[in-house]
C-alpha cells in the first residue's frame, strides 16, 4: 500500500456533473410543484412520491457518491430503505384490510377527538328508560 494515499477511493467528480445534478433537482422541484396543481385523481400522490424518489436517488448516487464508492455503502442505504418499506407496507396492510371480514373494524365510534366537544353545548342529560326492572 503506498504510504501517502490516505484518503482511499478518491474519485473526484467533475464540477459540471454536480451542477447538472443540482439544476436537475431544481427542475424536478418545478415539475412536482406544477403537477400538484393539475388534478389527477389518485395519481397526484404517486407522481409526487415518484418525483421525490428520483430526486432522492440523484442526491444519493451523485452527491453522496454511492455510484462511485464501495458497494457496501449502497448496501447499507438500500437496507434502510428496504426496512422502512417493510414497516410501512405491513402496517398499512393491517390498516387497509381491517374491514375485510367485519366492516365494524374500519370505523371509529366518535369521529372527532374529545377536545372538539367542549365547543359544542353539552347534550341534556337524559336517563335511558330501563324497561326491565321497573315494576309499575
Amino acid at each position: 500500500m503506498s504510504g501517502h494515499s490516505t484518503q482511499e477511493n478518491r474519485h473526484i467528480i467533475p464540477a459540471r456533473t454536480y451542477i447538472a445534478v443540482g439544476v436537475g433537482l431544481l427542475l424536478l422541484t418545478a415539475v412536482t410543484v406544477g403537477v400538484s396543481f393539475i388534478h389527477l385523481e389518485g395519481w397526484n400522490a404517486i407522481a409526487a412520491v415518484g418525483i421525490a424518489s428520483v430526486k432522492a436517488l440523484l442526491v444519493a448516487l451523485i452527491f453522496m457518491h454511492l455510484l462511485y464508492d464501495k458497494k457496501i455503502f449502497l448496501v447499507i442505504f438500500s437496507t434502510a430503505i428496504l426496512f422502512l418499506g417493510i414497516f410501512l407496507a405491513l402496517t398499512m396492510f393491517d390498516i387497509l384490510s381491517r374491514g375485510e371480514i367485519y366492516p365494524e373494524y374500519e370505523k371509529t365510534i366518535e369521529k372527532n377527538a374529545v377536545m372538539y366537544k367542549k365547543a359544542e353545548p353539552a347534550p341534556a342529560a337524559e336517563p335511558v328508560e330501563d324497561s326491565t326492572s321497573d315494576v309499575q
Binding site: 405491513l90 402496517t91 384490510s97
Partner: protein, 535 residues
C-alpha cells in the same frame, strides 16, 4: 504452575478515573458487566417480590398498585437494563476484538460514550422509580400509558436514551467486524460468536431507532395530545402496538442471537470438535435477523388488527422456526464423535439446548392463530418467553461468563460450587415456569394481582421454584467474586480452545496482543490441532 502475567490490562493503569474514562474495550466491557449485574440483581429482587405476592389470591404483601409497578419494573429493568446489553455490550465488548485479532473496537470513544449513555438512561429509570414509578407493564400500551398518573415520561425518556446506547454498540460492532479483522481472517473463518454479534448489531441499528420515535411520540401524546396513539384524541391505539412491536419483536432476537453465538463456541470447545454446519449456523443467524422484522404482528392476533394481517404474520412467524431448528440440530451433530467434557460452561450450553428447545416449541402454540387466541396474554406466554429469555439467553450468558471468567481475571472459580449452583438454577427454573405453562393453558391471565382460588397450588409451586433459582444465583455470585481475588491462576488457555482470544495471555495486555497476531488456523480446527488445556 500457571502465573498471572505481570503486565495486563487490569494493572496497566490505576485509579477510579482510569476505569470510568477508559477507552480500552476490555475495561468498558467490565464496566458494562458490573452495571448489568446490578440491574440483574435488582430485577431479580422484583421477581421474588412478584412471586411472594402471588403466594395466595388477594393481598399478601403489597397493594395492587405496588404490584403493578413491581412487575412493570421487573420487565423494564430486565429487558432494557440487563438482557439487551448483557451479551453484546458486556461480553461482546470484551471478547469481540480479541476474537478477530484487533487492538480495540473501531470507535473506542463511541464505545465509552455508549456506556455513559447507558448509565444516564438508567438514572432516568431510577428517577421514574422514585417519583411514583410506572404501572403500565414494560409494553407501555396506549391509552393506559397516556392516562395513568404514574411517571411514564421519566421511564420512557430513560428507554429513549438507553436506545442510543444500544445503537452505538451495534454500529461499533458492525464496523469493527467489517474493518478490524486480523490479516488472514476471512468472513468464514470468524468464530460463530462474532457472526451472532454481527446479526445482533444489524437488528440493533435497524430496529432501535423505531423504538426511539415510538417513545418520543408516546411522550408527546402524554404532553401534547398529538392524536397519534390516543383514541380520545383521534388516534389509533393499535398503531402504537405496531410501532412498539416493530422494535420489540426484533429486540427478542437482539437478546437471543448473541446467546446462540456463545453456545456455538461452548459446544465446539467442550467437544473438542469442529462445529457441524458452520455456514448453516452463520447464515441462519442472518436469516433469523431478517425474518425477525416480518413477524411483529403475532403479538396482535386479538388486538383488533385485521384478520388477514394476522394470518400473514402467523405464516411469517413459522418461517423463523426453521433456522432456529437448524441451529439446534447442528449443535447436536457437533457432539457426535467429540471428546466431550462436562465443565460448567458446557453444562450451561446443554441446559440451553434443553430449555431453549422447550421455549422454541411452545412458541408454535403462540404463532398458531387458533391456539393463540386462547393463550394470548396468559401465563403460557409468560412461561414461553422466560424459557427463551432465561432458559436461552441467560443460560448462554452465564455459560459465556464461566467460559471467559478466567480470560477476564486470569483466575478460575471453584468448579464444584459452580456445578451445585447450576443444579439449583436449572431445577428451580423448571419448577417455576413449567407450572406457568399449565396455569396459562388453564386460563390464568398475566399481570394479575389476584387470581381464582383454583390456581393457587400451581402459583405456590411456581413461587417455590423461584426461591430455588434464587439460591442458585446467590451461590454463583459468591464463588465468582471469590474467584476474582482468590481463584487459582488459570493459565492462558484453560479450556484448550482454538478461537483467537486464547492466543494471548489471560488476562490480556492492554492492546490485547503483544505482537500483531496472524491467523494460522481456523476457530474450530480440532481435527488438525490438539490445543493444551492449562487447568
Amino acid at each position: 504452575m500457571n502465573k498471572i502475567p505481570e503486565v495486563n490490562y487490569l494493572n496497566a493503569s490505576r485509579g477510579i478515573r482510569s476505569w470510568l474514562f477508559t477507552l480500552d474495550h476490555k475495561r468498558i466491557g467490565l464496566l458494562y458487566l458490573f452495571s448489568i449485574m446490578a440491574a440483574f440483581a435488582l430485577g431479580g429482587i422484583f421477581a421474588i417480590l412478584i412471586r411472594l405476592e402471588l403466594l395466595g389470591p388477594g393481598k399478601d404483601i403489597m397493594e395492587a398498585r405496588t404490584y403493578n409497578q413491581i412487575f412493570t419494573l421487573h420487565g423494564a429493568v430486565m429487558i432494557f437494563l440487563f438482557i439487551i446489553p448483557s451479551i453484546p455490550a458486556a461480553m461482546g465488548n470484551f471478547i469481540l476484538p480479541q476474537m478477530i485479532g484487533a487492538k480495540d473496537v473501531a470507535f473506542p470513544r463511541l464505545n465509552l460514550l455508549s456506556w455513559w449513555i447507558y448509565i444516564f438512561g438508567a438514572v432516568f429509570a431510577v428517577i421514574s422509580m422514585s417519583t411514583g414509578s410506572v404501572d403500565t407493564g414494560w409494553t407501555f400500551y396506549t391509552p393506559y400509558s397516556t392516562t395513568t398518573s404514574t411517571s411514564v415520561v421519566a421511564m420512557t425518556l430513560g428507554v429513549f436514551i438507553l436506545g442510543f446506547s444500544s445503537i452505538f454498540t451495534g454500529l461499533n460492532f458492525i464496523v469493527t467486524i467489517h474493518k478490524m479483522r486480523a490479516p488472514g481472517q476471512t468472513w468464514f473463518k470468524l468464530p460463530l460468536f462474532v457472526w451472532g454479534l454481527y446479526a445482533t448489531a444489524i437488528i440493533q441499528v435497524l430496529a432501535t431507532p423505531v423504538l426511539g420515535i415510538t417513545v418520543l411520540l408516546l411522550i408527546l401524546e402524554r404532553v401534547a395530545g398529538i392524536g397519534i396513539f390516543d383514541p380520545a384524541m383521534g388516534g389509533d391505539p393499535v398503531l402504537f402496538q405496531h410501532f412498539f412491536w416493530f422494535y420489540s419483536h426484533p429486540a427478542v432476537y437482539i437478546m437471543i442471537l448473541p446467546g446462540m453465538g456463545i453456545i456455538s463456541e461452548l459446544i465446539s470447545a467442550f467437544s473438542q470438535k469442529r462445529i457441524f454446519g458452520y455456514k448453516a449456523i452463520a447464515f441462519s443467524s442472518l436469516a433469523i435477523a431478517f425474518i425477525s422484522f416480518l413477524v411483529w404482528g403475532h403479538h396482535m392476533f386479538v388486538s383488533g388488527q385485521s384478520q388477514l394481517a394476522s394470518a400473514i404474520f402467523s405464516f411469517l412467524t413459522f418461517l423463523v422456526g426453521i433456522p432456529s431448528g437448524i441451529k439446534i440440530f447442528n449443535w447436536l451433530a457437533t457432539l457426535y464423535k467429540g471428546k466431550i467434557r462436562f465443565d460448567t460452561p458446557m453444562l450451561y450450553a446443554l441446559s440451553f439446548l434443553f430449555l431453549f428447545t422447550i421455549g422454541g416449541l411452545t412458541g408454535m402454540f403462540l404463532g398458531t392463530l387458533a391456539t393463540d387466541v386462547h393463550l394470548h396474554d396468559t401465563y403460557f406466554v409468560v412461561a414461553h418467553f422466560h424459557y427463551v429469555m432465561v432458559g436461552g439467553t441467560v443460560m448462554a450468558f452465564f455459560g459465556g461468563l464461566h467460559y471467559w471468567w478466567p480470560k477476564f481475571w486470569g483466575r478460575m472459580y471453584n468448579e464444584l460450587w459452580a456445578k451445585i449452583s447450576i443444579a439449583f438454577t436449572f431445577v428451580g427454573f423448571n419448577i417455576t415456569f413449567l407450572s406457568q405453562f399449565v396455569l396459562g393453558a388453564k386460563g390464568m391471565p398475566r399481570r394479575y394481582y389476584s387470581y381464582l382460588d383454583k390456581f393457587q397450588p400451581l402459583h405456590d409451586l411456581s413461587s417455590f421454584g423461584s426461591w430455588i433459582m434464587a439460591i442458585g444465583f446467590f451461590i454463583m455470585a459468591v464463588y465468582l467474586i471469590h474467584a476474582v481475588f482468590k481463584g487459582r491462576p488459570a493459565g492462558d488457555n484453560p479450556w484448550g480452545a482454538l478461537t483467537f482470544e486464547w492466543e494471548t495471555t489471560s488476562p490480556p495486555p492492554k492492546e490485547n496482543f503483544i505482537e500483531t497476531p496472524t491467523l494460522t488456523h481456523g476457530p474450530y480446527d480440532y481435527d488438525k490441532i490438539v490445543p493444551e488445556r492449562t487447568i
